[in-house]
Symmetry: none
Subunit: 208 residues, 4 copies
Amino acid sequence: MPRPTEATREEVASETRQRLLDAAAEEFAREGYVGANINRISQAAGFAKGTVYNYFPSKHALMLALIDETAAAHVDFVLRRVEAEPDPVRRLKQFFGAGFAFVERNPARARVIISALYGPDDEFKTQVYEAYKLLLVTIAQDILDAGVAGGDFRPIDRDVVTALLMTVYLGSCSQLGPGGKIWLDPSQVTTFALDGIRLRERPRDDEV
Amino acid sequence: MPRPTEATREEVASETRQRLLDAAAEEFAREGYVGANINRISQAAGFAKGTVYNYFPSKHALMLALIDETAAAHVDFVLRRVEAEPDPVRRLKQFFGAGFAFVERNPARARVIISALYGPDDEFKTQVYEAYKLLLVTIAQDILDAGVAGGDFRPIDRDVVTALLMTVYLGSCSQLGPGGKIWLDPSQVTTFALDGIRLRERPRDDEV
Amino acid sequence: MPRPTEATREEVASETRQRLLDAAAEEFAREGYVGANINRISQAAGFAKGTVYNYFPSKHALMLALIDETAAAHVDFVLRRVEAEPDPVRRLKQFFGAGFAFVERNPARARVIISALYGPDDEFKTQVYEAYKLLLVTIAQDILDAGVAGGDFRPIDRDVVTALLMTVYLGSCSQLGPGGKIWLDPSQVTTFALDGIRLRERPRDDEV
Amino acid sequence: MPRPTEATREEVASETRQRLLDAAAEEFAREGYVGANINRISQAAGFAKGTVYNYFPSKHALMLALIDETAAAHVDFVLRRVEAEPDPVRRLKQFFGAGFAFVERNPARARVIISALYGPDDEFKTQVYEAYKLLLVTIAQDILDAGVAGGDFRPIDRDVVTALLMTVYLGSCSQLGPGGKIWLDPSQVTTFALDGIRLRERPRDDEV
DNA sequence: CATGAATGAGGATTCATTCAT
DNA sequence: TATGAATGAATCCTCATTCAT
């Protein structure tokens, strides 16, 4: 058992790091990576400029850490809910539902991810892809493959549709209205996406 | 009628302006707006730094002009082809087909528009919305409304679906592989989008 | 024939560069390379901070340019006077005499060279060696080799003695009293050095 | 007599201080005073940053202490050996021999002294002069004065030659090859210096 | 119209130093 | 005594912008 002071010290360091990441998320979301200002980040976190550099070796590394931390929380949040669902159709709905919920709870983080994806820095893009790989695999296998096998979905190109679903998801997320609310109704987006892939023997009228 | 020298002078000025815009498109696409460098732009266009300021009052104004010019060409290119089609379904296919064609011919311009949309500057976003308004209206009225009225599409929320179609289009455009090729097959994207809205009494097998 | 304005522009640029180098010499001499401040250099030269970067890509490059320029002037100044002398002994005297004269006229430049040689940056050292190579070769060949061949000097290790002569010269130069005067009398230094190598009437063989 | 714990405490403190000085010597030698990093020094010594400040009030004071400690060891090492010799010529040889031996055993310390002498900080220079005063006095009196009085050396300006001998010594020391070896052979340097002052068989009076 | 020298605000980063534990 | 988190002054460098030619 570590000495109390040791435990406390680590907690404080962890707490500081977290506050810096939170402040960085806000700043990067509002100003973009290049426009973000390290001094404002540390001030917003309640520290002096230098403290950022006690935790992250550079602005670039801070961004990478933020991407990693955000992606880990995001993937974890969505996957838990997706995998709790019994069948592919419900899972797809959860993918959108939980995804939008995460974005509404963490609008700044979401913006950072999206701007990393559409911004000019290839290293950020790669980092995002890596960090979200598990989510993409789950969509492809546990939702699309399973859905096609089970007769819920039409035969489709798994990778193309995975990309399209992520595209629809990310695109919807970035259309935030005032207050950070997602302007598109999740259920409408889900319906649209589901109808793009669902098998259609007979009319259905049990939608969300 | 202006004197020949006048005409020549205007032509030269127009030519200079065009070369500056082309160079700016490449630079903004590669570096992002904040990372773009006015000196590099002028050098790439074959001029000295100061020349940019003879044609555009600021870097910001240059970006706005580039958005306008690109959007005008883009909208014109797509609308000509969309409106040449006789029915909503074909028009929607043309929206994607012509849109992807424009992006493949003008990858730098496309990147600029997309980064403006997903970047932190709200003024750029507004400018893009304004410049593309005519395209959005055409989708909403001449494709969706017409398609619903004609029984091609299910009753849908026109504005939501317009947003979703643009989202799918833009998202697909930004997934460029090496060489600027769009990675997603236009016909697959079109099929996906069409199936999301099409009315489905009976199975159809006449797709793209 | 270039246009007058062109000629003037080049003259101004050359003049600016020279003023910056002069100011840099003073600053580097007084503060050392690391302690030197680019802003102070440009201010002392009568320009704003950024102007330095219109002429030199970095502080490091400015230092290298200063070493080169100083060494070229130094070597030229000394070699002209050394080579005007008819015999090795007089040439050696001129080496010290002209060398000390250059240092007294350019104390800041001399300090920069010396601090480059004794400072921690190996690239600066290499640059100094390269820039003074011609002078070292002249000492070794046109003074020492010639003097040994002509019976003025004892048989000596040419390279060792070249190094020792430079050492004595540089060491003496760095012992500046108030006002930048070299504290050691050139003639005393010359006598000391000459006696270290001159042929004696009878051989002695009791050395270390 | 202090209590054992007291004695131990002092030993530990002394040991710590010594390790810090050793690490500082390496760092100052490699990076120069301004480029040296207090954190690296403490890490290399096996302590945290703050510990340096428990032993030295500032980086500047650490440098001064290092100069003092090095000079004291250096002067002691050389003087012991010089004063063990019976006559001025042997003493002068020992001055160079022991001096070079000290430098080869303590290359980092030697570099620090030399960079202090040729660097921009006058306070360091003064400190070096003060700390080496006893050595200079010994050269001037116990070697040069004694040698002139005993007929070994020509009548010379004692202070000038003292300065020249130190110059030759320091200059030779700073020409370190790979591995910290002094590149100039001590015996050659000694011969050169001795011949510069030794009495010749017959007077010459054709000098400068 | 084209030029490019000059400007100076702005920002990332370093690091000696302090001090509470 | 040892620690290391926090500090903030200091500095190199970038680059949009101006303007005289």
